[in-house]
């Protein structure tokens, strides 16, 4: 069952990789070195990434809202 909440990352992400290291599920990757990407299937919206993000560009939102956007 998928979680109700999920992480979303703003375009001002600096791609430092702090969130990727912190994520306990390996749901974040930075394949192009431009911006971190969240795997919607794996993310549980725990918020650990958003706590450590130095640029404060990660927000935890309702999954439905993320899919709508």
């Amino acid at each position: 069952m998928k979680s109700k909440r999920i992480a979303t990352i703003d375009t001002l992400c600096v791609a430092c990789g702090t969130c990727m290291k912190e994520c306990p599920f390996g749901a974040i990757s930075i394949p192009t070195g431009i911006k971190a990407l969240v795997n919607l299937e794996i993310c549980v919206g725990c918020g650990k990434c958003s706590k450590v993000c130095p640029a404060s560009v990660i927000t935890i939102v309702e999954r439905e809202v993320a899919y709508e956007n």
Binding site: L12, V14, A15, C16, K21, I30, T32, I34, P54, S56
Partner: protein, 190 residues
């Protein structure tokens, strides 16, 4: 629990680098590895693997930050492109200024200045220098490069204490440059 890999201990290399510089300034040249490797990785692979995995400085800030950081969000202007690229331009201007100072010593116009310049302003006489056996411009570059490395570390520590552990990553000139290279490399991709 995640198992630690060899690259999770690169913060030790960062500390070793600064300690070696205290004993002999010529070790500052090793810092070129920290300068060239990220650029090479982003230019060849098109990602920020260095920042994400191999940056010893980032790891060091994360370690120190777990104890000493206030863990407050950074003011939003730090993450704006204006500030990030502006700081990169300023940093590069200072870097080329250092290269020019090395050139002047190489050309015999200036004599070797055995000082560290912290935060581009404060000159610290360096009593630990042993520059015998090398030409003066090599020593001059070492002083300049060590100054650059120390300056960015001081900025990183201040940012770490005031804001989040890896706060420096937000405006790190190397990070901005590698991200810029990645943007160019992936231009046109969806």
């Amino acid at each position: 629990m995640k198992t630690k890999k060899w690259y999770d201990y690169l913060w030790v290399v960062e500390i070793t680098y600064f300690v070696l510089g205290f004993f002999n300034i010529l070790f500052a040249w090793i810092g070129m590895i920290f300068f060239v490797t990220p650029l090479a990785i982003s230019a060849i692979k098109g990602d920020k693997l260095y920042c994400n995995r191999y940056c010893g400085r980032g790891q060091l800030f994360a370690k120190l930050g777990s104890k000493f950081s206030r863990n407050r969000p950074m003011p939003p202007f730090f993450r704006t492109p204006y500030f990030r690229y502006g700081f990169l331009a300023f940093f590069m201007a200072m870097f080329f200024n250092m290269i020019f100072a090395t050139y002047l010593v190489f050309a015999g116009v200036s004599s070797l200045s055995e000082t560290l310049t912290l935060l581009w302003t404060f000159k610290v006489p360096w009593a630990f220098a042993n520059t015998s056996g090398v030409t003066t411009w090599i020593a001059q570059y070492a002083f300049g490069f060590y100054s650059v490395m120390m300056t960015s570390t001081i900025l990183g520590i201040v940012t770490m204490v005031l804001f989040k552990p890896r706060g420096f990553c937000v405006y790190c000139p190397m990070g901005t440059m590698t991200q810029g290279i990645c943007k160019l490399k992936h231009k046109g991709e969806s």
